[in-house]
């Protein structure tokens, strides 16, 4: 089987799910596919999904790599809040756009370094290690904004939230370019394979000469960087930094996107493209529930039900009966696992 065919087969379930969700929306909302051009920017529901889904898509990129190492990063929502706070603080203090962006991205990298240090050097369980920053992170963000919602009016920063490049909203460009860049780096080098090796068996990969420590730290730093980008977009979108609500629960949406993307939470194998489609599925569900005129109160219930269906379809137990969603065979999770292919 050629590479392309294998790739298409891998993302087929996600593409079909996305098509089904969009098809359902289009049924109840016939004007769904209308896209218009106004003020040099594209408008329409599909564009809206791509645009609103940007933070989750960005987080899902980092989260995919982290989960591929059999880790998890609970802190990304808090890191978003920190980086949003840093960017709002930087711009209001008059540091200029370049310095502000550099500071925000550096803050994200620093958070990732902290997480990576705990996981790779101190060997703390990832869920616990990142819980620390998840709890403390919003406190740190509030420390930066001094408890208030820090607003700003700088057009150059706002551009990252609501501007457009060649009629495409900037957040869409940012997440697509980031996704392509990360995918290119990990798939055109051995990095992706090494990350998967860590996820399958950390000890064995270390014995085989993989510098697991450095690679793990790099993966968590990538996650921090993606969270920083998402934080900048979120802050630029509302023209302010809200330490309490920026990125609230987005870590869960990002994990969900990765899971919906068919990646096992037990690591070892990943597809960035499938995760990104997963993020779009989640956003399409959000938008669809809004468009369909359901009371927004039902949003979470419907989301929970859909998640449950997807999870049941992907559960290892269901694999034996479901041919369609079948992936690498797996008996007892975490114990007897073989290298796929």
């Amino acid at each position: 089987m050629t590479g392309l065919a294998r790739f298409l087969r891998r993302i087929a379930p996600q593409l079909l799910t996305l098509a089904a969700v969009i098809g359902l929306i289009a049924l109840v909302f016939p004007g769904f596919f209308q896209i218009s051009l106004a003020n040099g920017r594209l408008f329409g529901s599909p564009i809206d999904i791509l645009n609103r889904g940007a933070p989750v898509a960005l987080l899902a990129i980092g989260m995919t790599l982290v989960i591929a190492t059999r880790g998890i990063d609970l802190s990304v929502g808090a890191v978003m809040a920190i980086c949003g706070a840093v960017s709002a603080w930087g711009i209001t203090e008059g540091y200029g756009l370049a310095a502000t962006l550099a500071m925000a991205l550096a803050a994200g990298l620093l958070c990732g370094l902290w997480n990576g240090f705990l996981v790779a050097v101190l060997r703390i369980q990832p869920i616990v290690a990142t819980l620390i920053l998840m709890v403390a992170g919003r406190g740190i963000a509030q420390l930066i904004t001094e408890g208030a919602i820090l607003t700003f009016n700088d057009e150059s920063l706002i551009f990252f939230g609501s501007g457009s490049i060649f009629a495409v909203p900037t957040p869409v460009v940012i997440w697509i370019v980031t996704g392509l860049l990360v995918a290119f780096v990990v798939r055109r080098s051995a990095l992706g394979m090494l990350i998967e090796a860590i996820g399958i068996n950390l000890r064995a990969s270390a014995l085989a000469g993989v510098n697991a420590r450095v690679l793990l730290i790099a993966v968590y730093m990538t996650s921090g960087l993606c969270a920083a980008l998402a934080g900048i977009i979120a802050a630029a979108d509302i023209r302010g930094a809200d330490a309490n609500n920026a990125g609230l629960w987005l870590e869960l949406d990002a994990i969900l996107a990765v899971v919906v993307g068919g990646n096992s939470l037990l690591g070892g194998r990943f597809s960035l493209c499938a995760s990104l489609i997963g993020a779009m599925i989640i956003q399409a569900m959000n938008t669809g529930i809004l468009l369909s005129g359901f009371p927004p109160e039902f949003n979470l219930v419907i989301k929970a039900a859909i998640i449950l269906v997807i999870l049941v379809l992907q559960s290892p137990r269901a694999h034996t009966t479901m041919v369609f969603f079948r992936r690498a065979p797996r008996e007892e999770p975490a114990q007897t696992r073989t290298v796929p292919q």
Binding site: I72, L122, R123, I124, Q125, I127, V128, A129, L131, I132, L133, M134, V135, A136, G137, R138, G139, I140, Q142, L143, G147, L202, R203, A243, L248, L252, I255, L256, V259, L265, L266, P296, E297, F298, N299, L300, V301, I302, K303, A304, A305, I307, L308, L311, V312, S315, P316, R317, A318, E332, P333, Q335
Partner: protein, 326 residues
């Protein structure tokens, strides 16, 4: 000394030291009034944390409890407003619902072999969503029985009030301690935390125990919801966001290993009290902002995780097995 007792000892020492520091600055800290308030203000968190302790002891995690508490409040408030039932049957119905909810999450986790993390995440969305569906407004609870419960307290020496909900938390912890350390169910929970395969070989009924653990967590979350409703006299679907994390933090600060199998329910009580103490200190100080609570709790979490990590390393070295379970 037994290495298993060390995290608990550390927790107790930290609590006493922190209280001593607070006392040296504000002598009123030791008054029974402050202690009474400490118990009352943290009652709902403490009760939920008892359930969380069992879940974590078994090696799982329950992210749904904050949402379940919010759902409980809304459920009680809406039912009392719309039906004219007495609160007691409402409480019973609620506890049945939340227990069943927990049990079904346990069943999904066991029978579909899915990670607890993601199942309870879906449960969190579902419970919060059901609360939204019931109402998105804050519904006040006005019922004579609630006033009775709120007004019911035991006047401690020094005019401190041990309220009904504060007392209920202490009773819950007592029950939790007995359940964890003196029953077969408790032994099964510890066995599961040590490893599912091993537990199965030891003859632990894995399916039954897993369902019972999450059912218990759902029950305690429902009870915490009742307490929260008494505490705030209202049901609000946006309430108690993130309480599951506070509960997890309390359990970890209380010295329970997040990998499962080791810890004490009593430690969780101290963990809850430490978190309450930080909050009380910030209120007493007046100039510190509440976000310091989060940062200090994060640092405490870090310290305890390091301590536990060190202990695991030391005990492993004693057994001379080169085992590095991550």
């Amino acid at each position: 000394m037994n290495a298993r007792l060390l995290p608990l000892t550390a927790t107790v020492v930290i609590f006493i030291a922190a209280y001593a520091v607070c006392y040296s600055q504000y002598p009123n800290m030791l008054s029974t009034r402050v202690i009474g308030n400490l118990l009352t203000d943290n009652a709902f968190l403490g009760i939920a944390a008892v359930g969380m302790t069992f879940v974590i002891l078994s090696g799982g995690i329950d992210l749904s409890i904050g949402s379940v508490i919010a759902f409980s409040g809304v459920f009680i408030a809406v039912l009392l407003r719309d039906t004219g039932l007495h609160p007691i049957p409402v409480f019973i119905a609620l506890l049945a619902v939340t227990t069943l909810f927990g049990a079904s999450m346990g069943a999904i986790i066991h029978f579909l072999e899915m990670p607890p993390f993601i199942v309870t995440l879906a449960g969190m969305f579902l419970a919060r969503g059901m609360a939204y569906v019931l109402t998105i407004d804050s519904v006040p609870i006005t019922h004579a029985f609630f006033d009775q419960l709120q007004g019911f307290y035991w006047l401690m020496p020094g005019k401190g009030r041990l309220t009904f909900i504060g007392g209920l938390m202490l009773v819950t912890f007592m029950a939790g301690i007995v359940l964890a350390h003196r029953t077969r169910f408790g032994a099964n929970v510890y066995a599961l935390g040590g490893g599912v395969q091993t537990a199965r070989l030891m003859g632990v009924p894995v399916a039954q125990t897993t369902m019972a653990i999450y059912a218990l967590s759902g029950f305690f979350a429902g009870l915490a919801g009742i307490v929260f409703a008494i505490y705030t006299s209202a049901g609000y679907s946006l309430a108690t966001v993130g309480v599951e994390l506070d509960a997890i933090a309390a359990v970890v600060i209380g010295g329970t290993l997040l990998t499962g199998g080791s810890g004490f329910v009593a430690g969780t009580l101290i963990g809850v009290l430490i978190m309450g103490l930080i909050q009380t200190y910030i209120v007493f100080d007046g100039s510190l902002s509440s976000w310091w609570t989060k940062i200090v709790i994060g640092l405490l979490l870090f310290a305890f995780i390091l301590l536990q990590k060190g202990l695991v390393l030391v005990t492993n070295r004693e057994r001379t097995t080169p085992h590095h379970a991550r």
